[in-house]
């Protein structure tokens, strides 16, 4: 026995079917079409739609954390206060001597006519979220195309490079960390000038490839960006060599510890000079 829907119900059913089919086609198209920067549209739309929620949750989480730290976690506050007073006094003395050293440094720089690279335009950003799976090594920033951020912009901290922008929405962007298994950076060993290609391993450490087995690379050597990948400017710190041995092939097996603390980054700089041109 079939049940006949009331006319109004049948009409609603038709409209629901129409909406469902139209949305299906839109999603299907957005999975296939790329925007001029090469990004799949649906990924860009999802990032655009999700950015306000990511920022909101990040703000709430940060607020709760600050409340916890400032008002709840007061264990041993009096003793710590006294200890910190002593430390502050000691640090003030150190700061005065460092200030004198800084001023001397400044004078010497002027004397040597040392010129800094003033062409690096940058913008500050905060990390608002990380990809849920720990292995993907992707973080999300609160800056996007409206701030001049484009794909392939380098992301750095004062300690060293962090990664590059792989997808930018209007007010947020997705950054691939240098520890990501698909990441690669053109590098050079500072001490010897030997060039190589640094790759992420998916873990916390990095690996350098294409350095000959006979090249001089020692544990403790500082690794800098070479600028050859046209993403990271030349001379930025990448990390330190923690392992260097002759491998089974003609190349050395070199492992590097990142200079920047990629597990705890919170604020970064996005270098706007590099990256894909605006559409």
């Amino acid at each position: 026995m079939s049940v006949e829907l009331a006319p109004k119900g049948r009409e609603s059913q038709g409209i629901y079917v129409l909406i469902f089919l139209l949305l299906l086609h839109l999603i299907l198209l957005s999975l296939q079409i790329e925007d001029p920067t090469g990004a799949i549209l649906v990924k860009k739309w999802v990032l655009f739609a999700g950015a306000p929620f990511i920022s909101l949750f990040a703000g709430v989480t940060r607020g709760v954390g600050e409340v916890w730290i400032n008002y709840v976690w007061l264990h041993g506050a009096r003793e710590e206060n006294a200890r910190l007073h002593q430390a502050v006094g000691r640090l003030l003395l150190e700061a005065r001597s460092l200030e004198q050293a800084r001023q001397e440094n400044e004078r010497l720089r002027r004397l040597l006519a040392f010129k800094e690279n003033a062409s690096l335009q940058s913008i500050g950003a905060r990390v608002v979220a990380r990809a849920p799976d720990f292995l993907s090594r992707v973080v999300y920033l609160d800056r996007g195309e409206a701030d001049g951020v484009r794909a392939d912009c380098a992301v750095v901290t004062d300690s060293g490079i962090v990664g590059r922008v792989i997808l930018a929405s209007t007010h947020s962007s997705q950054v691939q960390l240098i520890t990501n298994a698909d990441a690669s950076v053109g590098v050079v060993i500072e001490r010897t000038g030997v060039p190589g290609v640094l790759r992420g391993s998916g873990g916390h450490m990095l690996e350098i490839g294409y350095i000959g087995g006979t090249e001089d690379v020692a544990v403790g050597d500082l690794v800098l960006t070479s600028g050859l990948d046209r993403i990271y400017p030349k001379g930025l710190p990448v990390g330190r060599v923690i392992e260097s041995a002759r491998g089974k092939t003609v190349f050395r097996e070199i492992r590097v510890e990142p200079a920047a603390d990629l597990l705890r980054i919170d604020e970064v700089l996005i270098l706007l000079g590099a990256g894909a041109p605006p559409p």
Binding site: R10, Q13, G14, V17, L18, L21, L22, L24, H25, L26, L28, L29, S30, Q32, I33, D35, P36, L41
Partner: protein
């Protein structure tokens, strides 16, 4: 069986247009698949016509090498418009059917144009003119086919009675 029939008739409509269009220029402007959608919306089931429009549109996209979804989107809208008009108005007359099918065909083209713009693709001005011509020819072709269909049904009914 109905699903197979929908899929099969959609495929035949699209392929027939492609083959006929290769030999006769006018078939490049006669949208047989839209006429199939109109037939389903007027003569059979309005909600099923939405699925017919979606299916035939996806098939068209696949055979033309387009990203899947452009024609399906437009023909689904066309099916909805024809179905709603058939429900609310008396569309027995040839001129009203011509206007309805032409308007649905143009609406199909317009929705595809909007999709092109929304999804950041380039659009040629020729597209608008060609769409207008296609609307008129499809409307005319659809009316003729439906007149023939109605005549066949009347003849068949008379024979049975």
């Amino acid at each position: 069986m109905k699903v197979l029939f929908i899929a099969g008739s959609s495929f035949v409509a699209v392929v027939a247009q492609m083959i006929a269009g290769n030999s006769f220029f006018i078939f490049n402007f006669l949208d047989l698949s839209l006429i199939l959608v109109a037939y389903w919306a007027i003569y059979r089931h309005r909600t099923q016509a939405l699925f017919v429009g979606s299916t035939v549109g996806l098939l068209q996209d696949a055979l033309l090498g387009w990203p899947l979804g452009y024609n399906g989107f437009g023909k689904t809208i066309a099916a909805f418009v024809i179905g709603q008009a058939a429900k609310r108005f008396n569309i027995e007359g040839p001129w009203i059917r011509f206007a309805l099918i032409s308007a649905a065909s143009f609406l199909n083209a317009l929705s595809m144009l909007l999709l092109f713009l929304l999804l950041q693709r380039n659009v040629s001005v020729i597209f608008v003119g060609a769409s207008l011509m296609q609307s008129i020819i499809t409307g005319g072709g659809g009316v003729l086919l439906f007149i023939a269909l109605d005549a066949y049904k009347r003849t068949h009914t008379d024979k049975v009675s």
